[in-house]
């Protein structure tokens, strides 16, 4: 091995050259972590998210009641203090009682318990939706950006067309197709039946009895990857001409190794920021779908379907819409604060941009 080859190999492996070793190596991620910890809003957001995750995991211990069981004699029951805070003369006609912490819905189900179980829907949608979009977008963008030329051109035209397509319409169509093709009772042995079994397993894994979460993950994954793909492609285009990539190609590293070992670590920063900042939008997509009745299947509680029910009863029973709305807003604040903080930490020059 000549000295040049050794240097190229060191470069390719990301190890420092001789003489640089004594210098204190400041790692990008360690730096970013230090800046993130100093950001109070981001830390608050992070703590709230961790609490929400714990609540979702231990929902069956935290929730005072079962989310699907209610006594219709308790419908719209509300504690006295809430009727004093809210407008209107609710105390005159609503059932007053302290059985439920923040009241009950139109079937007499505990609103608090339903909001708690709703976290088992919203948080997985945020994380798994983000993961799916990241996976599809990253692979797609890497292939387009790395191979370039005609491949790149064609793949990016497809993305352009997907962008011109109304996302909301696409996801509504997809949900309608998934739900009517694979949802409900299916004949054993058919592909639809097998798919349905997978969907049930996913719901079971998330601690829900039914709900059809797999369809929501798929809908979000299919409609949300384009942004990541564009970002990844742009990043790769700017980095693949660098000398260290050439060096690793020179020593005979194959394409997969170059992409995974040398390109990805260098472009992960902006992509991670973009993914974190889009988690709220995935959560909102599910809330929106459940609001219009195409999200999770009842009686599985979703903050979106709860808000939809609450809006329907708003004039007489305004207490029904508040718990899911407030918790949704807190969740969105937390993810936005954490996302902003992460962006500022990874790239201080970007501070305050969106």
């Amino acid at each position: 091995m000549t000295a040049q080859e050794r240097a190229a190999k060191r470069l390719a492996d990301g190890r420092p050259m001789e003489g640089e070793g004594q210098q204190k190596i400041t790692n990008l991620w360690a730096d970013a972590w230090r800046r993130l910890i100093r950001n109070r809003a981001a830390m608050l957001g992070g703590v709230i998210i961790i609490v929400l995750i714990l609540i979702a995991i231990f929902a069956d211990r935290v929730a005072p009641y079962h989310y699907a069981v209610g006594d219709s004699n308790d419908n719209y029951m509300v504690p006295l203090w809430i009727t004093r805070v809210l407008p209107g003369n609710m105390a005159a006609y609503a059932k007053i009682g302290n059985k439920f912490a923040v009241g009950a819905d139109y079937l007499g189900r505990d609103l608090l318990s339903r909001v708690i179980y709703g976290a088992r829907v919203s948080l997985p949608v945020g994380f798994i939706g983000a993961f799916t979009a990241l996976l599809i977008g990253l692979v797609y963008g890497c292939i387009a950006g790395y191979y370039g030329g005609r491949t790149d051109n064609m793949m990016m035209r497809i993305v352009d067309i997907m962008y011109a397509f109304p996302t909301m319409l696409l996801i509504i169509l997809l949900m309608a197709i998934f739900k009517t093709s694979f949802g409900g009772a299916q004949k054993p042995g058919t592909p639809a039946y097998n798919f349905n079994q997978i969907s049930r397993a996913v719901d079971h894994f998330l601690g829900l009895q039914g709900g059809g979460m797999l369809f929501i993950f798929m809908g979000i994954g299919i409609t949300a990857w384009m942004g990541i793909a564009r970002l990844a492609r742009g990043q790769i285009l700017s980095i693949k001409q660098k000398e260290f990539i050439e060096a690793s190609r020179m020593i005979g590293a194959n394409d997969l190794r170059i992409i995974v070992r040398h390109i990805l670590p260098n472009i992960m920063g902006p992509i991670l920021v973009s993914v974190t900042l889009s988690i709220p939008s995935y959560i909102l997509t599910e809330v929106f779908l459940s609001f219009i009745g195409l999200g999770v299947d009842p009686p599985t509680p979703s903050w979106g379907s709860m808000i939809s029910e609450g809006v329907g009863a708003l004039r007489s029973f305004p207490h029904e819409v508040l718990p899911p709305s407030i918790v949704l807003a807190i969740t969105m604040f937390s993810f936005n604060f954490l996302g902003d903080g992460l962006r500022d930490a990874l790239d201080p020059r970007m501070k305050g941009t969106s």
């Binding site: 809210l86 407008p87 209107g88 067309i161 011109a164 397509f165 109304p166 909301m168 319409l169 696409l170 509504i172 169509l173 997809l174 309608a176 197709i177 009517t180 093709s181 709220p280 909102l284 809330v287 929106f288 609001f291 219009i292 009745g293 195409l294 979106g304 808000i307 609450g310 809006v311 708003l314 004039r315 305004p318 819409v321 508040l322 709305s325 949704l328 807003a329 969105m332 604040f333 936005n336 604060f337 902003d340 305050g352 941009t353 969106s354």
Partner: protein, 315 residues
Amino acid sequence: MGRYIIRRILWMVPVLFIISIITFGFAKLVPGGPFDREKPLPPEIVANLNKHFGLDQPTWKQYTDYMGFTRKPSGQFAGVIEGNLGPSYSSRSRTVNDIIRAHLPVSATLGLVALLIAVGIGLPLGVVAALKQNSGWDYVSMGVAIFGVSVPGLVLGPLLQILFAQSLGWFPVAGWGSLDQAIMPALTLGLESSAIIARLTRASMLQVIREDYIRTARAKGLSERVVMVRHALKNAFIPVATILGPLFAALITGTLVVERIFAIPGLGKYFVTSITNRDTPVVMGTALLYAAFLVIANLVVDITYAFLDPRIRYS
């Protein structure tokens, strides 16, 4: 410039064409037919209805009939290319053109007011935040921005209803027809978008005021106001204009959440009901309308670039 615009307009045809094919394909992939009922209709009636609307034809023929390339079962050609968006299967007395004519003006009015609110709040907020970076103003406006991003319309709408309609009684809870009924829904829609505009304006303004030509403008003795308005803001507006295109298309064609919360008879609900009713012509009509608005809005945005930044030239 003229040739560029003509070329872009010609490009719209294949784009809308591809969108129509994809939408039609997806709409036909949804299992079930438009005449499925909880209590099934007699098969002879379903067969007759299908025959009447040409649904007994193969899918490709249904598409070409719909577009107006081939003769319809009734023997006519009239299709999308002649401006006829077809019948609605679920409300038999109205055509898709009727539906759009009746509901688009409502959504468009609401959308335009919301867009005005969004720009009217977002732009000044972003500019002030950038000019007085890291001051109290900056934090206030970024607080408003993060509030707008984090409190979506379907949370803000009910909160506004409880606060301003039920507690204070300033506005009616819901409905459509008078000005005071339009204020809360327009505010709900506008505030969400104003947050995005404010963040974007601030970011691009911060970038622009560090450019050399701003220093040049100051150096040649222009007043700070002229530098900011004529030189900085004009350029900082470019990224903002980029998102105004899709925002315009989305707000104009109806936003079903806000329309549903405030019981507004807009176009938004047809995006969902048409799909659940398997009412393919309505699905197609709303999708093509949205796509057409989007493509046109994006073209207008691209043309304004050239006026905002003289460095941008189209050929």
